[in-house]
């Protein structure tokens, strides 16, 4: 069973890293350009997923389980973050009827 | 004040642990339903099978003819007056010479209509008729309708057909429901 899977032999690891970086950049773009808090939050999730992909890829190519365990942690914590985040967004929406961050200006910033 | 012996007092006592588990109750419920599963079914496959009907059943109306085949109805209107649902309407006409074999009296109903959506099959028309002209049959059901125009039964569908006069059955169906009831009471011996 110790043979290297075909994909690892065929695809250079740089391809995966590029893919993850592109997805990560798209996530950053989302955070920067969108105004809806929920979509910004989703863009952050996109970034986290790019990171997950990186970890899994490196873990697979280097044959080291620690990377995948890290992914496990990231997923768990992202879930907690989403729970809190959505609670906050709901709380905001309840008071202000919007989730548009550019409309939230009770703080001058 | 206890009005009925079937009233059940509701108790709001706290449920015991066993009761709060619900499981025994659920199992009990499952037992009840599965018992029904194996019980004899009560369904009657209607067109094929029919329920036996009571002799005092009030079914579809019929306008009777007499023994010679003449219509009994004289369009006196008492049935329409008696009808609580105002389902009956009629138009009277005078019997022309040469029509004596058709109508028993000089006056007859040229139009006689019962709105079957209104009719509640109470049998009061039957009771009111002085000529024993209208009866509710015990063996015929009013059919279901698919069109509003079918709802109003005219004489074409109400008047007894000529063939049935001849049969002995016609006599039997000449009885009013109350007559039939009295018959049944005597027959069953429950008086």
């Amino acid at each position: 069973m110790n043979q290297i899977p075909e994909i690892i032999r065929v695809v250079p690891v740089n391809h995966y890293v590029l893919l993850a970086s592109v997805i990560f950049s798209i996530g950053i773009l989302g955070v920067l350009t969108r105004k809806n808090a929920i979509i910004i939050f989703m863009s952050v999730e996109l970034m986290l997923n790019a990171v997950n992909l990186l970890f899994v890829v490196f873990s697979a190519y280097k044959s080291d389980p620690a990377g995948q365990v890290f992914v496990f942690f990231i997923m768990a914590i992202a879930a907690a973050e989403v729970a809190v985040g959505l609670a906050i967004i709901v709380m905001i929406y309840r008071r202000m009827r919007t989730t548009d961050v550019s409309l939230l200006n009770s703080l001058k910033g | 004040m206890q009005l009925t012996s079937r009233a059940k007092r509701v108790s709001n006592k706290k449920l015991s642990l066993g009761e709060r588990l619900y499981l025994p109750a659920i199992v009990g419920g499952l037992g009840i339903t599965i018992k029904h599963f194996f019980r004899k079914k009560v369904t009657i496959n209607y067109p094929e099978e029919q329920r036996p009907m009571s002799s005092v059943y009030r079914g579809l109306h019929v306008l009777k003819r007499d023994e010679e085949g003449r219509e009994r109805c004289t369009a006196c209107g008492l049935c329409a007056v008696a009808c609580p649902a105002e389902a009956i309407s009629m138009v009277a006409a005078e019997r022309k010479p040469g029509e004596e074999h058709l109508y028993r009296e000089e006056k007859y109903a040229a139009v006689y209509e019962i709105n079957m959506l209104r009719c509640i099959f109470c049998g009061l028309c039957e009771e009111a008729c002085p000529k024993s002209a209208i009866y509710l049959q015990s063996d015929k059901l009013a059919p279901s309708f698919f069109d509003r125009s079918d709802v109003i039964y005219g004489k074409d569908r109400l008047v007894q057909s000529m063939e049935t006069i001849k049969t002995a059955k016609s006599l039997k169906s000449g009885l009013t429901t109350s007559d039939r009831y009295v018959d049944k009471v005597f027959k069953d011996g429950k008086y």
Binding site: - | L23, I26, G29, L30, I32, T33, I34, H36, F37, R39, K40, K41, V42, T43, N45
Partner: protein, 354 residues
């Protein structure tokens, strides 16, 4: 791994798929029959002998009804909803081991072919993954209808599914701890004799799982998403024709899969009491092996059918919950109970191992 092995696999998968659809189809029939029987009626009996063609008639009706999409609905999502529901429902059955192995040496296949779509080592997770995706069909459909009742139904369905999924997975963990594997076939293989069935070893877990399975399938007493008195038709209020059919059909497939998972996890799967005795009676060689497997398959389907029946049985026994009762049951009873179950199981395992 040769071509024939793949072919045999393909056949098995197709068969499983077909059987899934068949059983789901006839579940609709069974539902009505069981309902009728429990209510002292006869049920459908006009289409075909004993009404056996009724499901086909229903399907035909579904196909030929007008396919209506509300004007303000989101068209693509409106179509995607039932498709997703159907897709996730159908995908699940491929990891369930319907039987032992088949000896197909006469076809030139050297290995024993398991009667299972694919034997992934994380079968349970696979099932859970798909179950958790099942919510999307409902939510998307409900939202896309652009109808308040649909949306409310969808949200109810989603929250109910999420809530009960937790308790469900937690109850499974106890089994996984005992077996040490996430593979369903491994779990089934572990229950090879009657007294080892998990239902005896994990009664609490079984009850939790059962309750959650009811909730996951939106079956009475947890059929709040589509409870007519409050929400008209729930998330599929706006649906008609075969799209509605898909939703209903998906529900029956889910029921089938749930029954299969329950039987596999808690009732020994294709194992049956006295298996070894029967095995001794069988002729030696491939034929005997296959016969035994066949018997196993039959037993397994028997168990599945029983549970499908059980689903229907319960439906006509227990009244629908109120929504707060539903949530209370899920969060305040089942989840703590399943956690306690895990703890107790862990303690016992530790105790037994030491």
């Amino acid at each position: 791994m040769d071509v024939y092995f793949f072919l045999a696999k393909a056949v098995i998968i197709l068969l499983i798929f077909g059987i899934t659809l068949l059983i789901a189809t006839y579940s609709t029939y069974a539902e009505r029959k069981v309902a009728a029987f429990i209510q002292d009626r006869l049920g459908p009996n006009r289409a075909g002998p004993w009404g056996l063609l009724q499901p086909i008639a229903d399907a035909g009706k579904m196909f030929f009804k007008e396919d209506f999409i509300p004007a303000n609905a989101s068209k693509w999502l409106f179509i995607a909803g039932p498709s997703l529901a159907m897709l996730t429902a159908c995908l699940t059955s491929c990891v369930i081991p319907f039987g032992g192995t088949l000896d197909l040496s006469f076809l030139g296949i050297s290995e024993l072919v398991p009667v299972q779509g694919i034997d992934v080592n994380i079968g349970i997770l696979y099932v859970f993954g798909l179950v958790s995706l099942g919510v999307y069909g409902v939510m998307i459909g409900g939202w896309a209808s652009n109808n308040k009742f649909s949306l409310l139904g969808a949200i109810r369905a989603a929250s109910q599914n999420i809530s009960y999924e937790l308790a469900m997975s937690l109850s499974i963990i106890a089994i996984i701890m005992m077996t040490g594997s996430l593979s369903i076939s491994q779990i089934v293989a572990d229950q090879d004799s009657f007294y080892k069935w998990n239902v005896w070893r994990q009664p609490v877990g079984f009850i939790i799982f059962l309750v959650c399975a009811f909730a996951e399938c939106n079956r009475t007493p947890f059929d709040l998403p589509e409870c007519e008195t409050e929400l008209i038709g729930g998330y599929h209020t706006e649906y008609s024709s075969m799209k509605l059919g898909f939703y209903l059909f998906a529900e029956y497939i889910n029921m089938f899969v749930s029954s299969a998972v329950i039987s596999a996890l808690y009732f020994g799967g294709y194992h049956f009491p006295g298996e070894s005795l029967v095995a001794g009676l069988m002729p030696a060689g491939a034929l005997g092996h296959n016969l035994l497997t066949l018997m196993g398959i039959l037993v397994f389907f028997g168990k599945i059918l029983f549970f499908i029946f059980f689903f229907m049985w319960v439906r006509w026994t227990i009244a629908r919950f109120r929504y707060d009762q539903l949530m209370n049951l899920g969060w305040k009873s089942l989840i703590p109970l399943s956690i306690a179950n895990i703890l107790v199981t862990g303690v016992i395992i530790l105790f037994l191992n030491s």
